[in-house]
Amino acid sequence: MLELRNISYEVDDNHDNKEILKDVSVKIEDHFVAITGPNGGGKSTLAKMIAGIIKPTSGQILLDGEDITEFDITERAKKGISFAFQQPVHFKGLTVKDMITIAAGKDMTVTEICNILSEVGLCAREYIDREINSSLSGGELKRIEIAMIAARGTKMSIFDEPEAGIDLWSFNSLIKVFEKMRDEINGTILIISHQERILNIADKIIVIADGRLEKVGTKEEVLPALLDTAESCKTLTDKL
């Protein structure tokens, strides 16, 4: 279980203090939890904070009761937190096989790598020796990013907008990947998403807006209100 206690985060934006997160407290203990909310609301910041990439200005982060607020990225990774980037990083020279092996933390046979890649809909024969660079499409990079998390198989897997930057075709099969992961992976999946289809399979939905925790609940509790109040300007609503 992951617990955030009174998390705040401020940045100095040209001597103007800007609050990105304001006193966020939430417990994440369900199997499949989605974080949603408007762009710029602080969702990605929160995910990076859990992975240790950003340190909160104040507040505490607890993993299974242990205070990990002061732990660095590596220590948190070793404690069982995995983080799939919204924009996968390119590596010159490192191949899919290298990255999956590093993620798994042990030598991997071709069969083992094949199993993991097929989970995300990639054929190992075609991809195993490919470099993680711009020769791969956005959708392919996303899948490999997700495969690395699957290879780790930790108790807490965070995905930052897996749907961002990929086309509709890729998205449809990506949803299936998450539906499958939901059924097969042990531990908690925390996924930042705007997609109704992802929110639909979540056990719990957390809404973050303007740096604040706005709502936490099941999809029945959260989704209707969310879809109703989707803010649109008058010109747009008039036309609809």
Binding site: I73, D98, I102
Partner: protein, 305 residues
């Protein structure tokens, strides 16, 4: 061969014992062993230090190893090796120089390799440089590679210098006839106060000739690297050069590419990128459980692979 030499041999040629096929092992300035085959002849030069390697036309799937070992501190030599590759031959040539310097004097090996590729000949040329030693003596290597490629010949050059060479000036010259192709992959890592210079110049003289030069380097410590490349497109040709460097600590890298198109149909491209390891690469690997130092090693290993 003593233990020091055996270790050098393993580093530069990946060999534990004498290789199969044709070879010439040079240790401390003299011939340690030589083997020729029905298709590959190796002859000592009479006018200067060095050998001629003559490969008969049509020779395929054979290899030549010509490692050079220096374990005597202070030894300085300049060697001329000429390679004559017959029409339609397809061979692998592995050259390399290992220096073990445990003294205080400067050890130096200058190798001048000239390749003559006849029509349709194919060569894969692998060159490794390695230096070690516990003394204060410097290890210097200045390899020169001159390639003359006739019609439709193909040469692939792979050069590696990873450790222990204090100073190097690598010169490569090439001229290409119609349909000839030259592919060069260079890998360099320098540390301490080392200096490495790449000086590359090629003339694309023939129609449909092409050259691809890829240099990847890492400069650590206070080391300094310079990359000069000149490509002259004198016909309907394609040239591409790429210099990719990672700098660490106080390392310094200069890249000076020069492209000249003397023909309206010449197509020349250069790409250069120099910078430190991207922070997000380190972060990504750390989220997979590596420490910052382990992440750095993985990135560099992959980059120079």
């Amino acid at each position: 061969m003593d233990l020091v030499q055996k270790n050098l041999l393993e580093q530069v040629a990946g060999l534990h014992e004498v290789p199969e096929g044709a070879y010439n092992i040079r240790a401390n300035g003299s011939k340690l062993g030589r083997n020729t085959t029905a298709n590959i002849d190796i002859v000592s030069k009479t006018d200067k230090d060095g050998i001629d390697i003559i490969i008969k036309p049509g020779t395929v799937n054979e290899s030549v190893h010509i490692p050079v070992l220096l374990s005597q501190s202070g030894l300085q030599e300049c060697v001329y090796n000429d390679f004559y590759i017959g029409e339609g031959a397809d061979v692998t040539i592995v050259a390399g120089c290992g220096i073990h310097n445990c003294g205080v004097d400067t050890s130096k090996h200058d190798g001048i390799h000239t390749f003559y590729l006849e029509k349709g000949a194919k060569v894969r040329y692998v060159e490794r440089h390695y230096g070690e030693g516990d003394g204060n003596g410097e290890n210097i290597m200045n390899p020169q590679t001159i390639v003359h490629l006739k019609e439709d010949s193909y040469m692939e050059m792979e050069t590696t210098q990873i450790k222990g060479i204090d100073s190097t000036n690598r010169v490569t010259r090439g001229d290409l006839a119609d349909g000839a192709r030259l592919e060069i992959h260079e890998k360099i890592m320098t540390h301490g106060k080392q200096y490495a210079k790449t000086d590359f110049s090629v003339d694309l003289n023939g129609d449909n000739s092409s050259c691809n030069l890829v240099s990847r380097s890492v400069a650590k410590g206070e080391s300094k690297q310079e990359f000069f490349s000149i490509m002259n497109g004198n016909a309907a040709c394609a040239g591409h050069s790429e210099c990719d460097a990672i700098i660490m600590d106080h390392g310094c890298v200069t890249a000076s590419p020069q492209l000249t198109a003397n023909s309206i149909d010449a197509n020349l491209i250069h790409e250069a990128a120099i910078g430190k390891i991207a922070g997000e690469q380190l972060i990504k690997l750390m989220t997979l459980g590596l420490t910052e130092k382990e992440a750095e090693e993985q990135i560099i290993n992959g980059f120079l692979k």
